[in-house]
Subunit: 349 residues, 2 copies
């Protein structure tokens, strides 16, 4: 078990590991559980993750790190402070997706901590099993290669909604990355799974120097320069919102992948619920108080105050939180985005 | 226009017309709008009937009568008193369907009012157009024939959920009834519509004497005897719950039908909503605050506090009231009964 060795805390790196929990998103596809004032990372999704929020569980999961930071938007800073007071807080000058947020965080943490290695983890995913060993392997790889390290999750199905990573060597404990591939069609996804591609779990490890070096030669260059000049606001104003994958990971030659030993689900949309809770005999996944009569393969989710009944329906999502109800076909769960877009137009999200 | 003549208030009957509004039911198929503590007749179904409850509208509709009574259960008596203080109140000793309720009411009203003719109307139906003229014709028929008079609604579709009445003469303003037929299959319903059958709207006219005479020779006989003996509780204890149609109307030789000039809908289940509200371009019937994206032919109904969104679904009922949500295929809207049955078992209806 090489992992046991590489995750041995005694086998010290030459610098501290800083966990950076990314909590700037909204998770709109879990509307109405997620709302503008209650983004997905603050949900417990009772029955899915227990009583702790996804954020609290994430911060707890990285407790093996030497330091922990949470990066979020101004809007949610107060809630983060209350939810996870044990973590340092970084407030993004502007919400502009993961690219700017991660560059900003790397710059700030380097100022505050000095030489270190960053373990960057989304705050709203579900992880089960042994996390620290893969994480330790990733940060070690980041230090040793001076590259950018992604976590690769072994696919359990030909998902079309995820990004895929093709490793040069799909059997290695760390590998260079041949290519990133975003959201493939079904057929392509099946081929990817056969050929040993990984899911891109959105978790990364790098030193601040490595990330800033690569970001400088990307569309995020103006931000890095402005940060160096002590003017983050100007930096954010000068760039477009962009994901770290698109801006940097897919373009660098210094990308590595470390296979994840843990189970992972991004719980990206309501259809995910059936993967992470036990289903009834008819295949209904029920979170909260739900009654399914002659109904199969549905996802029913409700808050503690609400009771959901379905009769005679199949493969639907029915989600009821607060004063909002959402119904969609399970295989179109992503389309909750369209509902949120309309509600945003009306100032009602 | 013979109706204009027969509904002329100056063309007096030899006895007062007493309207009896039947408000003892629950209307379970409109769950979760209807609940044990808020039966259907107390709903306004905002957007369907305006702000007044179905009960209040019914009592208002029969204001041409000389006296008005509402018959209900002990449980709902207080609410009826508050809702329609202008009507007399009759409390059924036990809720045992329309048969016992109507016999009890006829007996009580005869005691209180003396010789009269009763116009019996459900409290939870929608009626539009000219009601008084048909009603006047019905009570006149009841007096003149000394029979039991049903209202016949001209079918607008081959409904399988209604009872049908075959008149001896489908062109007459009043006709003897050849037969009653309960809930036919589709093919039979189509034939009924072609052959000039009416829907049995559950509205009746009779004198107390006529009803009690016919009831005495029916399964309700022991109740009539107990009422004569001044012991209604014993009477109710001795009989089974039964509808007036099954116990009396379908068995008597003295049944008449008067065609209704008004539009009528029993709003029996959620699928009825699309018949009584204006639908959007995609055929969605929306009561309250609903958003339908790429969704067609659905019924969305919500109370004032709740917002319902659907995306990508067709021909569903989504109803959200208070802390309850119900989803079912529109063409299985009757199955809401099954949900209610389960909730009752749990003491949660």
């Amino acid at each position: 078990m090489p992992d046991a060795h590489s995750s041995d805390p005694g086998d010290a790196l030459d610098r501290p590991v800083v966990a950076l929990v990314m909590a700037g998103g909204t998770g709109t596809r879990l509307y109405p559980a997620s709302r503008s004032d209650r983004p997905k990372q603050f949900l417990s999704l009772d029955g899915v993750t227990g009583d702790d929020s996804l954020l609290a569980r994430t911060v707890s999961r990285v407790s093996f790190a030497d330091e922990r930071y949470v990066s979020t938007s101004e809007e949610h800073a107060e809630t983060v402070r209350e939810e996870v007071p044990e973590a340092g807080l970084l407030v993004e000058p502007e919400p502009k997706d993961t690219g700017p947020a991660l560059v900003y965080a790397a710059h700030r943490i380097r100022e505050q901590v000095g030489e270190c290695v960053l373990l960057c983890v989304p705050s709203d995913h579900l992880v089960a099993g042994e996390f620290a060993s893969s994480a330790t392997r990733a940060v070690r790889t980041a230090v040793e290669t001076e590259g950018l390290v992604a976590f690769g999750v072994e696919p359990t199905r030909p998902a079309t909604g995820y990004g895929y990573i093709e490793p040069v060597d799909s059997t290695a404990e760390r590998s260079e990355i041949r290519q990133f591939r975003e959201k493939p069609d079904r057929e392509t996804a099946e081929r990817f799974v056969e050929e040993g591609f990984y899911w891109n779990a959105g978790l990364f490890a790098w030193t601040p120097e490595s990330l800033l070096r690569e970001a400088r030669n990307s569309s995020l260059g103006p931000l890095v320069e402005a940060l160096d000049a002590g003017n983050p606001e100007r930096g954010f104003a000068e760039i477009e919102g962009v994901s770290i994958d698109y801006a940097v990971m897919e373009r660098t030659d210094e990308a590595y992948v470390v296979p994840a030993d843990f189970e992972w689900d991004d719980v990206g949309a309501w259809d995910a619920v059936e993967r992470v809770v036990e289903t009834d005999e008819a295949g209904n996944a029920i979170v909260g108080d739900g009654l399914a009569i002659d109904a199969a393969e549905n996802v029913l989710a409700a808050d503690d105050e609400t009771h959901v009944s379905v009769v005679g329906v199949e493969e639907l999502v029915v989600a009821a939180y607060d004063d909002r109800v959402l119904v969609a076909p399970k295989d179109e769960a992503q389309r909750v985005r369209e509902v949120v877009a309309r509600l945003r137009e009306q100032g009602r999200f």
